[in-house]
């Protein structure tokens, strides 16, 4: 059940020029794929809370990754350890554990954020994991060592070839799929998610996608964050997702 709680900031550090990691302690639980809303300011401007997927949760510590994209995240970046922050969560439907022995995790840029917690859970469940990490440049592959150390196998790609394969991370996915059947998990830009869903359908693999949307309430009340469902109705990213089975949201 989600709650509104006060959490203490224990760390708030830069991982790259654009991406930061904030660590919070407080009475909260989370499942991989869930998210929280952070009240970045009480000053009404920016007005809405900022949604961030749970990067990690263990030993009473909640970790979030965030990219500096605007005023909300700039305010958050200036918050210091020792200060407190209001958080609403945990919110949304997370990743299911899947059925296959093997799992492939596809991360695109900051889309890697919710996938560490998932990776640890899948490893703990005894699954064999392949972590495929794509970004525009080597610098944007934040925390690559962390993912590499945890996953059974690891591969990476960059648009500019500055690290790993030059090209799309979905090319790496196709290569893995040629060798094995697996449950697929992905988070990243929408074109990447669509490509992942297509490959999953072609190789008849279960596929779970974490979507991003403009959120207001985060609890299902405002109907602001909807995405079209296959049946023509709308699904709320905040409570029906943010993790969806690929076939719920994308045509194969």
């Amino acid at each position: 059940m989600p709650r509104k709680i006060t959490m203490q900031i224990t760390a708030n550090e830069a991982l790259s020029a654009e991406v930061r990691r904030i660590t919070l302690t407080g009475d909260i639980t989370a499942q991989p794929g869930q998210f929280v809303q952070v009240a970045v300011t009480a000053a009404h401007d920016p007005y809405l809370n900022r949604p961030f997927s749970v990067h990690d949760w263990r030993d009473g510590e909640l970790t979030l990754l965030y990219r500096l994209v605007g005023r909300g995240t700039a305010i958050l970046a200036a918050r210091q350890p020792g200060e407190s922050v209001t958080v609403v969560g945990p919110l949304g439907r997370g990743f299911p554990m899947g059925r296959e022995h093997s799992a492939i995790i596809v991360a695109g840029g900051i889309g890697a954020a919710p996938l560490l917690f998932l990776l640890r859970r899948l490893q703990a469940a005894g699954k064999e994991t392949a972590f495929l990490y794509g970004a525009q440049t080597a610098a944007a592959l934040v925390l690559r060592e962390q993912f590499q150390a945890l996953a059974t196998t690891y591969a990476e790609s960059t648009d500019d070839g500055s690290r790993g394969r030059q090209g799309q991370v979905t090319e790496l996915l196709q290569e893995v799929l040629l060798k094995q059947k697996a449950d697929i998990y992905a988070c990243g830009p929408e074109p990447m998610l669509r490509a992942v869903a297509k490959l999953a359908a072609a190789y008849q693999c279960r596929c779970y996608l974490s979507l991003e949307a403009r959120l207001a309430c985060g609890v299902g009340a405002c109907l602001g964050c909807v995405v079209p469902a296959r049946d023509g109705s709308y699904l709320r990213v905040c409570v029906d997702g943010p993790v969806f089975a690929a076939e719920e949201v994308f045509a194969p």
Partner: protein, 307 residues
């Protein structure tokens, strides 16, 4: 001694003057995770139409300075499905107000007809002011004669408390308020959202798929306060004030302006426990000012305003 927070809206006696605003609270269940909804003075559920409505295409929300624009487009499951969800609210023992929307007067009548045998429904809030649907909604809310004709018809369709929700997107809100009162409305609620727009400078296009949307949040509070003040000068029936309320002090301001109760909308999105916090804050305010009843606050600023 605990101050008395009771207020009366038509036939409804509310244990406190605080309710969520329609459209910001779904059918209640989303916020039940955060607190016991029986604390609320009333529960106001989402705009409900005869048939299910898909709503508008996304993007539906744009953040603005101290507020948001929304263009949800009255997405709702239709009155028959909504009725089941409304019935679930009976357990909280607090009055349930159903926001009724439609394209034609017969649409509104039909929604009421279907809900008349549902004992959980205490009152209807007639939404003549939704800015985000192509027909009906706002079209009903801008012409006093059309409002009077609609409310006359609905008055004969129910004995329950009839609240008319007014649009701020008019030249003279007082004329519309008076038309609703003389046609038999028991109460008024105001304001609905102000029509606005957001444009993305980088993408060089409107942010909302619907192009325009309704502005709400702290940004609209001064407009709402002014309209509550003007309308309560001109009508005898109680007014539920709303528009940007996010704390107890905001609620007090609306009561001082003449509102008999308040509704909290967009602030729920930012602070899911804002409603019980405002209720507690009202009590504290009354204690601090040694007032016994919240009713003493209603319109209290009027006298000062006339000096």
């Amino acid at each position: 001694m605990m101050p008395d927070l009771t207020v009366t809206i038509g036939q409804l006696v509310l244990k406190n003057p605080v309710m969520p605003a329609s459209g910001c609270f779904g059918y209640g269940e989303e916020y039940a995770a955060f607190y016991d909804l029986s604390q609320l003075g009333a529960i106001v559920v989402k705009g409900t139409t005869v048939e299910p409505r898909l709503g508008n295409a996304p993007v539906r929300i744009a953040e603005t300075a101290a507020g948001i624009l929304n263009a949800i487009g009255l997405q709702n499951p239709g009155v028959v499905a909504a009725k089941d969800r409304i019935r679930q609210l009976a357990r909280y023992g607090t009055p349930v107000i159903v926001n009724v929307a439609g394209n034609s007067s017969s649409d509104y009548q039909r929604v009421i007809e279907i809900l008349e045998d549902e004992p959980t429904v205490a009152a209807y809030e007639i939404n003549i002011s939704c800015p985000n649907v192509k027909q009906g909604g706002l079209a009903f809310g801008t012409d006093p004669e059309v409002v009077a004709e609609l409310i006359n018809k609905l008055r004969s369709a129910t004995h329950r408390t009839l609240i008319v929700k007014l649009s701020p997107n008019v030249t003279d809100i007082v004329a519309v308020a008076q038309a609703a009162e003389s046609a038999g409305a028991d109460a008024l609620s105001l304001i609905n959202t102000l029509v606005g727009m957001a444009i993305d400078a980088e993408k060089r296009r409107p942010v909302l798929a619907n192009l325009t949307g309704g502005l709400s949040g702290p940004a609209v509070k001064p407009v709402a306060l002014r309209m509550v003040w003007q309308v309560t000068e001109a009508v005898q029936i109680p007014v539920i004030g709303m528009g940007g309320i996010s704390c107890a002090e905001d609620a007090v301001e609306f009561l001082l302006a003449g509102a008999s109760a308040v509704a909290i909308g967009t602030a729920n999105f930012v602070n899911p426990t804002v409603c019980p916090e405002v209720i507690a804050g009202l009590s504290e305010y009354l204690k601090r000012h040694q007032l016994r009843s919240v009713q003493e606050l209603i319109g209290l600023a009027k006298a000062a305003g006339k000096n």
